[in-house]
Symmetry: C2
Subunit: 244 residues, 2 copies
């Protein structure tokens, strides 16, 4: 089996935004779908991990888009394992249009947690075949970095986690974090600009009924730091969103 | 071309709820997708209507589910035109599992509006071929009826229409109405019960930034009336939700 996985998608009209484009959160869904299918096909997917008493946890995700697929436009996502160290593995993605031109890239960082202790697991002990899938393939976007705390000096917008926010594991869906963060921007931003880079750091699990607060702050023109905090004011995720 | 359209779907894990089931709103997306594709293939779709200066408007939708597709379960939606009168046409749907057993049904009622005047158009003048697709196929669920006004004697939960609520036409996505109405129910309802019938009446367009209020009232055990009202307290949609 090839080290690089290739997955084909066609945008469905009911999953597009008001401009008829695939949204960043929906692209996030497609990327995670490609990621989990690639892992499953190669013996280190959700079910393989479960057998070892572990689960993958998404720690970082950064998506950079050059252009956005529109109505019924087919696109292809390729994904591969870039690196593995003791507690983290990085996975990259390229998104290409029908002509084979890159229209976006993505980088993700994953940890594995022990389902009993909820603590990180040593990946080298756990998955002795994961390393064999590492490929030296270019992913020409900046790696995720440290994101400043938007919550430090901005008032929060209250938000309560509800039924439609939950994923199949009953946690706050990682893609829904993105959706709620983008909803803080006025519609005029979407009319005149486009998100060119969306970088998110997941720091703690969101749960049903949690009373969260959403924060946003412009740090340089068109560059925003955002965060979602729990009842105690502790950030459960931070994101940096750049528009062009 | 056959009068009945048949469309195949496989539930994607990222579109399932915390119980691993296709949600009612997501099923609504699949049904509307089947509907628009059926119409397009037969010459009375979105683009055909646009050429005549008109657009389809969904007026009523009722979904009854016997069971719900779960992770990676393939299902088939068949859809057909049931009736046409001057201002409305009814379209039915059956949802079947891999064994061909019905797991749900749906009825919808559509009007066509003139894009200039925003007024209903006489369907008999507009689409002389629509009638040729009428089929006498059973759809064994009750037709949509009148829904009582939940807003009359319940306090509303405020909600402001945001970016992720908008459809490709820039209006409040008809499926998102369903999502917000279901989010009013406590998670325990979803844990122990299931929506068996979801009936919705669309009364006015929701737009970006509108300050809405959401209402819910139990009328008999496990039977609820709900509504979404605009700033003036006028209902823009009402729904009746039955659990089993």
């Amino acid at each position: 089996m090839s080290k690089i996985g290739e997955f084909h998608f066609v945008s469905e009209s009911y999953l597009l935004d008001f401009r008829g484009r695939v949204t960043i959160p929906m692209m996030g869904n497609y990327l995670l779908h490609a990621s989990s299918t690639h892992a499953e096909q190669r013996g280190f997917g959700f079910n393989d991990m479960k057998k070892q008493g572990c689960a993958w946890v998404l720690s970082r995700m950064v998506i950079e888009m050059i252009s956005h697929p529109t109505m019924l436009q087919p696109f292809t996502i390729t994904t591969w394992v870039e690196e593995i160290n003791k507690f983290f593995t990085s996975r990259c993605f390229a998104i290409r249009n029908e002509a084979g031109e890159a229209i976006g890239y993505c980088r993700t960082l994953w940890a594995a947690i022990d389902l009993e202790t909820r603590k990180p697991t040593d990946l080298s002990l756990l998955l002795n075949n994961l390393g064999s899938f590492i490929v030296d393939e270019p992913c020409p976007i900046e790696k995720p970095g440290k994101i400043q705390a938007a919550e430090r000096d901005t008032p929060g917008i209250p938000y309560k986690v509800c039924y439609s926010d939950l994923d199949v594991n009953g946690h706050f869906n990682s893609i829904k974090y993105m959706e709620h963060l983008l909803n803080m921007f006025d519609i005029e931003m979407f009319r005149h600009k486009e998100v060119s880079r969306f970088e998110i750091a997941y720091m703690a699990e969101g749960k049903y009924g949690m009373e969260l607060s959403l924060h946003k702050k412009e740090i340089t023109p068109d560059r925003y730091i955002t965060s979602i905090c729990d009842e105690a004011g502790k950030a459960i995720c931070r994101a940096e969103i750049t528009w062009k």
